[in-house]
Symmetry: C2
Subunit: 137 residues, 2 copies
DNA sequence: GATCTCGTACGATGGTCATCGAAGAAGTCC
DNA sequence: GGACTTCTTCGATGACCATCGTACGAGATC
């Protein structure tokens, strides 16, 4: 289980209080498996997360996503995304920032992420579904 | 469940004895879901099938694939691929021909299949793995 | 330090899935 | 018709997975 500590760049606007102790295990770029990525993206909830992440083009906290599931389930989905190599998670104080691993994915599987995102957009448009689940009531 | 009978072209070298009674349910193009396609492709066995199918650029019978699983399991995987809309299956006598639904997928999700196939090739090359599972013994 | 927010960990649950083996159905060939 | 090939169907099984609720941990704020 050779997993890096994820130092690598991305240490520019990060405050000192961030990433103090809690380190999150990420797969190294070379350990990202296509099957795992596809599996991660094949869940509607996770695909939705990735779409929002790509649309915002910024790091978002877990709680900024308006998912129709509990916090536990949200944690689960983010972990699947992280462990498959799709997102990078970094603690910033009590919040956990989530960022798409565009560079790594692009390097490993050129065009794949964009194809999937475009496909998701097309399908959402086609089905008149933005991916958002309507509130009950 | 509006599912076509799959007549559509591809009726050129087909003998009359083929496709007599047994019809296989395929999702109509508009019913193909991205999540299902990604899920179908996220299984190593099925990804391997799709890769071979794409490489050969021809319709292949189920038994032409050298998969390290039993026939039952093979049937299962081909059904998942068919029901997700990735492959088209047609009976030809006792054999069942499998063809990639390139046109449908390309129309729905442009570039997606090629991205996945390219990604699979890259990964196979990178891991020194052709996707083929070594025979035990 | 008390409290609040944000996320984690654990156990449980119901569902899906990949796999197998055995028995059967459909077509072809002698 | 009988044997052979090809794929299916069924039941079983063990694994994984999405989901929840509750309890907890780590920072931030007052």
């Amino acid at each position: 289980m050779v997993i890096e500590e994820v130092p690598r760049r991305r240490a520019d606007a990060v405050t000192e209080t961030a990433a103090t102790g809690r380190a999150l295990p990420h797969p190294d770029r070379e350990h990202i498996r296509l099957e795992s990525v596809l599996h991660a993206l094949s869940d509607p909830m996770r695909l939705q997360i990735v779409r929002e992440l790509a649309a915002k083009e910024a790091e978002l906290t877990c709680s900024q996503f308006d998912l129709p599931v509990t916090k536990s389930t949200t944690t689960h989905h983010f972990r699947v995304l992280r462990e498959s190599g799709v997102v990078r998670q970094v603690y910033r104080g009590t919040a956990k920032m989530n960022g798409l691993r565009r560079d790594d994915l692009e390097s490993l599987f050129p065009g794949l992420l964009d194809s999937v995102l475009a496909a998701a957009d097309r399908q959402a448009a086609r089905l008149g579904d933005t991916g958002r689940v309507p509130a009950d009531g």
